[in-house]
């Protein structure tokens, strides 16, 4: 072995980390090699200095107080967990009561008056649709179905959703959408209106003041069909009239309905 090959062994020898056989081999070499013996002495010297330097720590911070204070501090989520649970239950109950109080009364007071609406609003000439819409008297309001304005017994055919901007003029309510529009006959259609999101019925009623939840509408369609319009177009038009929206000069309104 050359001297350079002994360097790693001499380092380990100085640390006392060699096996007996390797120790003997290194001892024999440094006994006869002045250069490696010098390297061994330098290695011992630097090792002593390293130990002295690393052990020399006078300024040690006091960790006792900081550590014990952290240990003694309870996490916030464990403080008063009973009270936190009680508060959560209270909030949940309050939310349920609030939701109930703001949905039930409005569905009755707002929905009922429109049953007696006999005179529909005039329809602009552009639409060529007469909107003599009335509620079918044999149908009772479905109080437990706040999502539905009207219900159809006919097989359901999926209709396109109502464009949001159709209802943009009523800013204080949510936008309903047409659920399906099965034709009743050649000149009548029964429409179903459904709101996209659940919420207090009062908002629905204000969206279409003349129609309450669970009520059914029958619309005359003959004139519209004569003008090449389908039942979906008619339904949107009816809703728009009930909301008091005018389609005059509203290109978006025409455009959206033409697409239907």
């Amino acid at each position: 072995m050359r001297c350079i090959d002994y360097e790693v062994l001499i380092s380990a020898y100085a640390d006392g980390e060699l096996s007996e056989s390797k120790e003997s081999e290194v001892e024999e070499h440094i006994a006869c090699c002045a250069e490696c013996r010098c390297l061994y002495e330098k290695t011992l010297n630097i090792q002593r200095k390293i130990s002295d330097v690393l052990m020399d720590f006078d300024d040690i911070p006091d960790l006792v107080s900081s550590v014990t204070s952290q240990i003694n501090t309870r996490p916030w989520w464990r403080i008063g967990s009973t009270w936190a649970a009680a508060a959560a239950v209270f909030v949940a109950i309050a939310f349920m009561v609030f939701t109930f109080m703001h949905s039930r009364p409005e569905s009755k007071t707002k929905a009922v008056p429109i049953v007696h609406r006999d005179t529909p609003k005039p329809v602009p000439q552009k639409t060529a649709v007469a909107p003599p819409v009335k509620r079918m008297e044999q149908d009772k309001p479905v109080k437990s179905a706040p999502k539905l304005i009207a219900v159809s017994a006919k097989p359901q055919a999926k209709a396109p959703a109502v464009p949001k901007h159709m209802f943009a003029k009523n800013n204080n309510h949510r936008s309903p959408s047409i659920n399906h529009v099965p034709p009743l006959s050649a000149d009548k259609a029964e429409i179903t209106v459904e709101y996209a999101d659940a919420g207090p019925v009062a908002q629905y009623a204000s969206a279409i003041p003349e129609v309450g939840p669970g009520e059914r509408l029958v619309a005359e369609t003959s004139e519209a069909r004569q003008n090449g319009k389908d039942d979906s177009w008619l339904c949107y038009r009816i809703i728009d009239n009930y909301q008091g929206n005018s389609n005059d000069g509203d290109p978006d309104w025409r455009e959206s309905n033409d697409r239907l």
């Binding site: 790693v8 640390d15 390293i50 690393l54 720590f57 960790l63 952290q70 240990i71």
Partner: protein, 178 residues
Amino acid sequence: MLSDQQIISQVVKGKKEMFGELVARYQKPVFRLACSMLANRSDAEDAAQEVFIRAYKSLSTYKETGKFWGWLRRITINMCLNKFHPAVMISLDEISEIPGHDSDTVFESVIWSVESEDLRRTIYHLPPPYRTVIVLKYLEDMSYKEIADALGETLANVQVRLHRAKKMLRERMKVSAG
């Protein structure tokens, strides 16, 4: 005077105020080890606190078979290796694979980067893999096998790394002296 094990038993039973006694006993070696490994006093203080908090949380898992300091030292080493400087704690093999970063180049970078004449600062300026083995060997007096186990390295790797680290320091001190 209560032994470490007696204190630990009481802390585990709920007397957490007794843990302060363990902190008082071992804060110096923990901080010294952290400071030597991280080469930064502020980081070392944070690390030492984290070590004791982690030790407190894991105290129920501590086995009586070994010395408490050995267990605490292992937490300290892992904390310093993993949490504070994971990016620079590359292995010796990774250093060898970097083009132009053979041991001589590393040695030269140490030489050039060190401004102080002080050996401590020279040690602190060693690349972390070299500094770590130096600290574990000459501060903690750990055997090569203990170091290899702690770092997940082979015995031969630790032997070569220590040799190179000592060579760098020897050369540095020769430059300073000469």
